[in-house]
Amino acid sequence: MFSMLKSKTEAISANAEFEQLMRGAYRQAHSVAYRLTGNQVDAEDLLQESFVRAFRFFHRYDRSLPFLSWMYRIISNAHIDMVRRRNKLKPSSLDHGGKDGDQALEIADLSFCPGVELIRSSYSDCVQKALNAMNPEFRMAVVLSDVEGMSYEEIAAIMETSIGTVRSRIHRGRTQLRGFLLKLQPETYGRMI
């Protein structure tokens, strides 16, 4: 009876801790989810799924990793699953990333991108479209580095990989991004990058 009470008290305090940590991480988590998906609806789906997974696996959370980094790891894995599942549903899509992931998994909608008269917002739409076309592992590494300003070492801890792999993902991610932008708008981006 006493042990039941004790485990119930522990569960309540774990829930309270989870909620407190999550409250601190929530906005950043949403921001990364938004950058990965490129739209509010998918970002919210991804965020909700990540919340559910985080709650479920909270007992496995290793405190040596900052909570936000742990959340980024969950978001990254949930996002990779989301992209793979969607590509599987598309009959014409590439269902693999090439032998080393150099082919983009997601099929970009390349139909719209602003012409020479670029306004700032539509121009960032274009970069987001190119990001969406990127392999999800590369996308996460590039977002963590260039948007979140994280070091390669931090990214390696989040993505549970080596610094060498992070180096390669970021480099190939930026190379993919350049390729997509040049494909979208050769004249504009040819001059800019």
Partner: protein
Amino acid sequence: MSNCEKFAPLLSAYSDRELSAGESLLVRQHLFECEACTAELKTLEGIRGLMLEMPSAPEPRVNFEQLIAATRPQTGSRARLVLGLACVAVVVSLIAPGVMRTAHIVPPQTTNQELEREIARDQMIEAEADPTSGAPLVHLAGYSR
């Protein structure tokens, strides 16, 4: 392997200052004598610049309390508890409808169909699968009380 093939993959890390001092020196020496890699470095820095200029994400439309609430009914033990209680409740409600109120985990309007969906989703999470795949998604609004 040519020098360019050797150094080109290091250019992003070089511009991010993520190479060791020794590697960085070797890249710098190569850049000094190679126009192609210097141009490539400029391009990669341009890409990084485009990323940095992205506007910040909009405010989330879904609030924190809704997201937290959505985590709660999904746990395995709870879903199983809900199922167990539901079975008991069906029997008990035939005899004494008032007793069902003690099983407050089951929202009064919860139907068997909803329970099945919760359990299906839970099983997919258990299998490390994503519950948004194919299975009907339980909407947040359903959990905001």
